[in-house]
Point group: C2
Chain length 252, copies 2
Amino acid sequence: MIRGVLLDLSGVLYVGRQALPGALDAVARLGQSGIPIRYITNTTRSPRRMIMEQLRAMGFSFPEGDVYTAPLAALDYLQARGLTPYLVVHSNLIEELAGVSSPAPDAVLIGDAGEGFTYQHMNSAFRLLLEGAPLLAMGSNRYFKEADGLSLDAGPFVAALEYAAGVRATIIGKPAAAFFHAAVASLGCAPGATVMVGDDVDADVIGALDAGLPAILVRTGKFRPGDEQKVEGRAPVLEDISAAVDWILQRL
Amino acid sequence: MIRGVLLDLSGVLYVGRQALPGALDAVARLGQSGIPIRYITNTTRSPRRMIMEQLRAMGFSFPEGDVYTAPLAALDYLQARGLTPYLVVHSNLIEELAGVSSPAPDAVLIGDAGEGFTYQHMNSAFRLLLEGAPLLAMGSNRYFKEADGLSLDAGPFVAALEYAAGVRATIIGKPAAAFFHAAVASLGCAPGATVMVGDDVDADVIGALDAGLPAILVRTGKFRPGDEQKVEGRAPVLEDISAAVDWILQRL
């Protein structure tokens, strides 16, 4: 029995700025069933407000509160521990994290900062780590695809600080079990009764399985032939979000 | 029998901008013996020209050709292979490396670039690595001491690129055996007959021993009590450069 659903965004509902075929209808059908849904993403170059604007422009209409992002997970993590971090994040994200930053930081939080990865920022973060501040990273992705080629994501800069200070980062966001569990908790159901739907076999599907959630791998977005073998016998591999919604609606 | 000498600079001959007690006299005595000497350093924030100016201001007077640096080793490495690298180095170093840079680079060379570690530079380097360009690093040091605290050296940024592109860097400079061997070759004597004198037990002393050179650890510069245990039975541990020169002069 499925009691809740987690849906990845990019590669499952859309690619680029274009909804995938059947995705608008599939999401509408899932919504009409009344099952609680959270849309989860590791994007750290945009606050939820901007993600919602993009989703609405593509025709999706779910409430903002149903979207859970790695930066919001970071906010929850920090607030639960009373930490006020030094931020090495993208300028777009400052508005979302402004509430937790401090002139006397006691942690370091890294996102996909892009041009914000300056020597001075990295050095300030390094010196805090030497003083014992914990290193928190919203993701450990190596790179992502831009219009003109692949570009460095946050992971390499996290690796740099780990090497420099001799520490290990705590990863927030997928594939961390805590991220899946936080999203599930906000739905009010058990991990074993909440299915994760994603196109990234590692971060989405294996991450969810390892966190105790059933999961579905869809053959859209960054799916590559051969990925299905990584989850053989552990997760169904379906054509797209439409097929995933059909599968879920049969198990309510 | 000792036929040649390699001397580290910072921590052996001087600390900060100040010659160590007895160092000027010790270097003069060694020079008068006629034994060939190379002064070797991993510094990549200054070209040899600037290092020489600092040495002369402290009262040292050996010829510029006797100083061998990691950037010069990189030049040798690149020229021997016909490589023209993309440079991620300190702005001070551009004058020394200008001859090998190219608008169509086929390698990546990393030094302690300081403020030169921008996202754009790192990303350009990353894209070249993805195309198969080799990653060359003038050092893998984690950090160094500045007036206002510890600061990131090249090593963390090398680690970032290794993680991003899934490659391993070739380290030029200490403790790479090739660096010691190149310095020895320029003296025209065998590694086993060339003694290395240094204050860094890992990069200087163990590096030299692993490259087949006898070595002396001096108790100045970054020497810390306990370092002598790391080379017990493999290298003498002497008070300072004066004692090291005495030791050498008895074995010519």
